[in-house]
Amino acid sequence: MMQVTQSGSFQHAAVLREFGCEHSLLSRPDGSASFVQGDTTVLAGVYGPAEVMVSKESFDRATLEVTLKPKVGMPGVAERSKEQCIRQTCEAALLTRLHPRTSITLSLQTVHDDGALLACCLNAACMALMDAGLPMHCLFCGVCCAIDQQGTIKLDPTAREEKESRAVMTFALDSTDCRVMMSSTKGSYTAAELQQCIAVCQRASESIFQFYRDSVSRRYCKA
């Protein structure tokens, strides 16, 4: 049994910013979506399953490629590491074995970055994959939270809040059990704080998945 120290009050400012999303906004890609969290906007486009280069071909599954482009400048190491996080989450969610020797290309474009960029990219990616009609065994969502200097957990931080915080964490959670699929953290925090953040993000993911359902039902339901 591990020792747990009580860390003061658990008053957390847990509010998600205003969300918005638009599906099928681009005509060329098979699936596209734009996801807005407050001011952070990410545009995602999916092509697939399509022809794959022989060098990248996989005999039993589809090859997933993820590209994230920043608005200004050339993509650097930060973009590459975000691409890997997104790619691993998508690979876990997609049923790639249904389409062997094909390629699925996911392109993301940062339209505006005001904090929680990786979480917004994950949400946009999931909506775009849904819009493209690719088979997945679960949906996923991205949630970002930050721990500020006083120890309060702030959900969906803006860029300024991220800069002033002690630790920033992004989790990808699946829709069936709200378990953690991917985590990317920066900064220092205790094990107790990590568990609290995961619990807060799991609560938040419920509203995000409800948002997914509402936006899709708005599109496809007759009423």
Partner: protein, 425 residues
Amino acid sequence: MRETPLSNCERQFLVQAIAEKKRLDGRQTYDYRNIKITFGTDYGCCIVDLGKTRVLAQISCELVAPKMNRPTEGILFFNLELSQMASPAFEPGRQSELVVKLNRLVERCLRNSKCIDTESLCVVSGEKVWQIRVDLHLLNHDGNIMDAASIAAITALCHFRRPDVSIQGEDVTVYTPEERDPVPLSIHHMPICVSFSFFQQGTYLLVDPSEREERVMDGLLVIAMNKHREICTIQSSGGIMLLKDQVLRCSKIASVKVTEISELIQKALENDKKVRKEGGKFGFAESMPNQRITAYKMEVAPVDTDDIGKKAEDLISNTEPPSEIIPSPVVRAPGTGQIGEGLQNSWGLDENEDGEEAEDQTMEEELQTMDVKVKSVNKEDPIVLSDSEEEDVVVLEPKIMKKEVKVQASSTAASKKKKKKKPAH
């Protein structure tokens, strides 16, 4: 991905329709598609939709040292990228001809026309000037990238505000947007590109070709003009031979179109300025169309965190502590350390039966003798020291490590024995 090839019947259909003055989307010969301009939250960011072609433009600025041969002028840098989502044919990392051509046209249109006053970008002559960077991203390719890109670039440049700078003698102060309002760039005129596509060796002409029409065209004429009817750039590609009066006619059409588009840009800029002044909401989030069923918005949503603390505590108290397998580091030589043991070669060393094998063995044994932890060895292996191996073995510390040498030799001996057994049976 390779571009889907255009079928012959589709090609014939398009060319015949154009010959009968009909376009697929019902436009007239000189009609432009709907242009929509939206601005982002920060200055210098805009998205332009020309029909379904979508371009994102972002302007940024930085203080840098000026070029050696132009110490009093600022620097302009243009970059047009064809995003992979714009078309399945665009692949990352490959500089196709199209990208080079478009970049060159953007540069000629905006840099060579001197539409931006670079002298005003100078802060300290010879030391610090503003470098204005224009990044254009094509998000969806439905034809006529050049026009959309030029509209996006010039609109974003007009929208952009750079930080205010003041010079007092030797001191240069750059003010943040909170301290002093940022200052717009000084722009003389707004050059806008108009594209004309030609079919049947110059017989038929279309303004603002869509993607399908671009595929079947013979040649393209791009004229960059401003609303004062000055031609900034003109480019004819595709090898079509145009007559003088054809080019003059195109320039007349271009001047009409440029006037219309310039008015549209001015209106969009004024609208955005008004909204920002009145303190209303602006940015891409606001410009999302609410009425469409493909768009959906959710208000600010609070999340219930009442028993989070207790839940987290329960979780932590119920988990077991991690098992203590922190291996202690081993120092092999000054400057080299090893943590853990790594994988052992389990191939059995039965391919080369000559000296190499013995060398491998000696190396392995040297390695083994340095380990702190003794590997668990199958005690049932017979500890037989065969003669041929022992001769090449170098025993480092015969007293202490002899046991491990024996063990190692035994395992290889055992494997050798197994191998030797095979031919016998």
